[in-house]
């Protein structure tokens, strides 16, 4: 029997990988992928808790999260494309107009 903690460790690992991707990827699309990973790590947590507590609320909530994630990716990619049209690049290191 696989315990709750195993799921949580898995979710933490996925979240960390996603965060690492967000922090280190130079490509804007890569950063979006990292964000996806982090969100899905959360989903794993929600599903795991729902399963182990016998409470369906977590599952319903996960469905919402997935839907919103899709929307988020759509908006995020639209922003990336808009940036590319203006700056001819999606390299995150060069998107530093707010530098002090």
């Amino acid at each position: 029997m696989i315990g709750l903690s195993s799921y949580l460790v898995l979710a933490a690992l996925v979240f960390s990988i996603g965060l690492f991707g967000v922090l280190t990827r130079r490509n804007a699309v890569g950063i979006l992928l990292g964000i996806e990973l982090m969100l899905n790590a959360v989903n794993i947590n929600l599903v795991a808790f729902a399963r182990f507590h016998g409470d369906l609320t977590g599952l319903i909530f996960t469905l919402f999260t997935i839907a919103i994630t899709v929307v988020e990716v759509a908006v995020g990619l639209a922003i990336v494309i808009a940036i590319f049209r203006v700056r001819r690049t999606v390299d995150a290191d060069r998107l530093d107009l707010l530098r002090g």
Binding site: L19, V22, T24, I31, A92, L95, D96, L97, R99, G100
Partner: protein
């Protein structure tokens, strides 16, 4: 309020109204002569009111709360009318009126704007002086004391485009401030010890012997310091001769008859308090007598006619102070009044001479009797009064002072004052002989002054004689305390001084140069004003300027240095912190993630 106090209130109110109108409405001020007429009309009303108040012998006091506090007002303003202030009211308004009329002619060549300014200051001065005279308490007196000082400064510097006048104005202002510093410290100390500024309350307590204040001698000495500055007592007398840079009518009014006597008035007014501290009284007497002698010696070697009169004023103020210090306050006050009359006369006459000749130097005048007999005669009357020749006003007041000082067993001051009386006659007749007799040196055609100037002169001359005769008629019983040998003695001194001046400057029997050689050290010192001016200048340059430079250095390099360092530090820090803002979203996310991680660690380790 008491309706009978309206009249005494009217006296200072009229010049104040004139001042306000002239100050606020420039078109009136710029008319010059119109401004003068307004000011003269106001002061004339004041004079009439003052004479009525004086004649009725009215006495009363009225105060209004000024600085409110829980247990009744801390300070009050008001009027205090008694014989002393009544006499001063008449003197101040009379001399002011005559001087203002005289000024219309004397300053007739001024631009209308400047003349208007002159009358504005004059009105303010008269108001301030009357407020000082009527003050019922030390605080109000101090306020008006400073106001007359301000007017003195403004009027000495009336010709402010002359560097000498501007310098003299500043000098007068600062040197009197030195004394005023003591004055205000004394007032505040007295207030903190007794809880009141009011004269009437202080005098009541003094009379009831309940004014047991520790250090009263120090307090009264500090208050006396104010009088030292204002009344040009040694060692703060140096400003008065320089104040002669102002127009001559100003010298006559402010620096002879009224403002400089404020110190004597203060001592007279606060006499019940000074009487409690005999040691301070002794200081006042000694300093007064010494001032009288010192100034008289300087007057003997001076060549500038106005400065001779200025030193003479210092000398006579010393006389009054000596009388006050000897406890003979009425004698000192009487001399204040008579001196106010004949010294104003002398100054105005000297002004007429200067107006005619165009120089202040007596050695370039001479033989003016023929050209301006009116002026010469009134000057002679003033001289006789000042020298103390009976039956003119100066004789009785001076004799009363000498008698009072003798009665107080102050032999030292008495001898100094007697010598001063001799010197007074000498230097005044020296001035008369050099100016009006002998060979004529002045070029051009000196002419008699216009009637606008001669009128006030004659009026003052008549008053000097009349006051003397009145004193002669009433003086017999008033001065019975003085020893019988005193009148012949003082007249003898005056005659000896006259004879000396006659021999040296008229007959040529004694060569002045030989006398100067015989008394070489004294001559040397007196001509250099005993080094006091140089001493003050040196102190000013060495001490005050040095101190200012030190303060300036500290300000520039220490205070500003700290601020500069702080600003530089802020700039550096800002510049360094600026680099935190990379503008890259990832760096911010990194910061957020790291911060959340730290929060977790903190929560796990410390927040069990």
């Amino acid at each position: 309020m008491d309706l009978s106090l309206l009249l005494p209130l009217l006296v200072p109110a009229m010049p104040f109204a004139a001042f306000l109108i002239l100050a606020i409405v420039p078109p009136i001020r710029r008319t010059g002569r119109g401004a003068g007429a307004l000011s003269i009309a106001a002061i004339a009303v004041s004079f009439v009111a003052a004479v009525i108040v004086w004649h009725s012998g009215f006495i009363g006091e009225q105060t209004w709360g000024w600085i409110p506090a829980d247990g009744g007002p801390i300070a009050t303003v008001g009027v205090m009318v008694d014989p002393i202030s009544n006499a001063m009211l008449v003197l101040v308004t009379l001399v002011s009126l005559l001087v203002q009329i005289y000024s219309l002619a004397y300053l007739g060549d001024e631009r209308p704007g400047a003349l208007g300014r002159y009358y504005t200051y004059q009105s303010l001065f008269v108001f301030s002086m009357l407020g000082l005279v009527l003050a019922p308490g030390f605080l109000q007196m101090f306020v008006f004391w400073e106001l007359v000082g301000l007017c003195s400064y403004l009027l000495i510097g009336f010709w402010y485009d002359r560097p000498a006048a501007a310098r003299a104005a500043v000098k007068a202002f600062w040197i009197t401030k030195l004394g005023d510093l003591g004055f205000i410290i004394g007032i505040v100390l007295l207030w903190s010890a007794t809880g009141t500024f009011e004269f009437s309350e202080l005098f009541e307590r003094a009379a009831a012997n309940t004014l047991a204040v520790p250090g009263l001698a120090v307090i009264m000495f500090l208050i006396y310091l104010g009088a030292v500055g204002k009344s040009a007592q040694f060692p703060l007398h140096v400003w008065l001769p320089d104040a002669m840079e102002g127009p001559t009518p100003v010298s006559a009014l402010i620096h002879a008859a009224t403002m400089v006597t404020a110190g004597v008035f203060l001592v007279t007014r606060a006499e019940p308090l000074f009487a409690l501290v005999p040691e301070v009284m002794a200081v006042i007497a000694w300093v007064g007598a010494f001032t009288a002698l010192l100034a008289a010696t300087m007057a003997c070697v001076e060549g500038d006619i106005k400065r001779v009169l200025a030193y003479s004023t210092v000398s006579q103020l010393g006389y009054m102070m000596a009388a006050a210090g000897a406890g003979a306050t009425p004698a000192g006050f009487l001399h204040l009044l008579t001196h106010g009359l004949f010294k104003a006369l002398l100054f105005l006459a000297a002004g007429a001479v200067i107006h005619a000749v165009g120089t202040n130097d007596m050695f370039r005048m001479g033989g003016l009797f023929r050209a301006m007999p009116h002026t010469a005669i009134v000057f002679l009357i003033g001289t006789l009064a000042l020298a103390g020749v009976p039956p003119l006003a100066g004789f009785y007041s001076k004799e009363a002072i000498l008698g009072g000082v003798w009665e107080a067993h102050l032999t030292g001051p008495f001898l100094m004052l007697a010598l001063t009386a001799l010197l007074t006659a000498f230097y005044m007749f020296r001035a008369v002989f050099l100016t009006f007799f002998g060979r004529a040196h002045a070029g051009g055609h000196p002419h008699e002054a216009p009637w606008l100037m001669r009128g006030p002169l004659w009026l003052l001359a008549v008053l000097t004689v009349a006051a003397g005769i009145r004193l002669a008629l009433s003086g017999a019983e008033a001065h019975e305390a003085t020893p019988g040998w005193l009148p012949p003695f003082s007249v003898g001194l005056a005659l000896f001084g006259f004879a000396l001046a006659l021999a040296m400057y008229q007959r040529g029997v004694i060569d002045p140069a030989r006398v100067a050689r015989a008394l070489a050290p004294l001559d040397y010192l007196a001509r250099r004003r005993y080094g006091l001016d140089a001493l003050y200048a040196g102190l000013y340059r060495g001490f005050i300027l040095g101190f200012s430079r030190l303060i300036g250095w500290i300000d520039r390099y220490f205070v500003d240095g700290i601020l500069n360092a702080l600003t530089a530090l802020t700039l550096r820090a800002g510049d360094g912190l600026r680099r935190m803002q990379t503008g890259r979203a990832q760096d911010y996310v990194y910061g957020v993630a790291f911060g959340v991680l730290l929060l977790f660690v903190w929560a796990q380790l410390w927040r069990r």
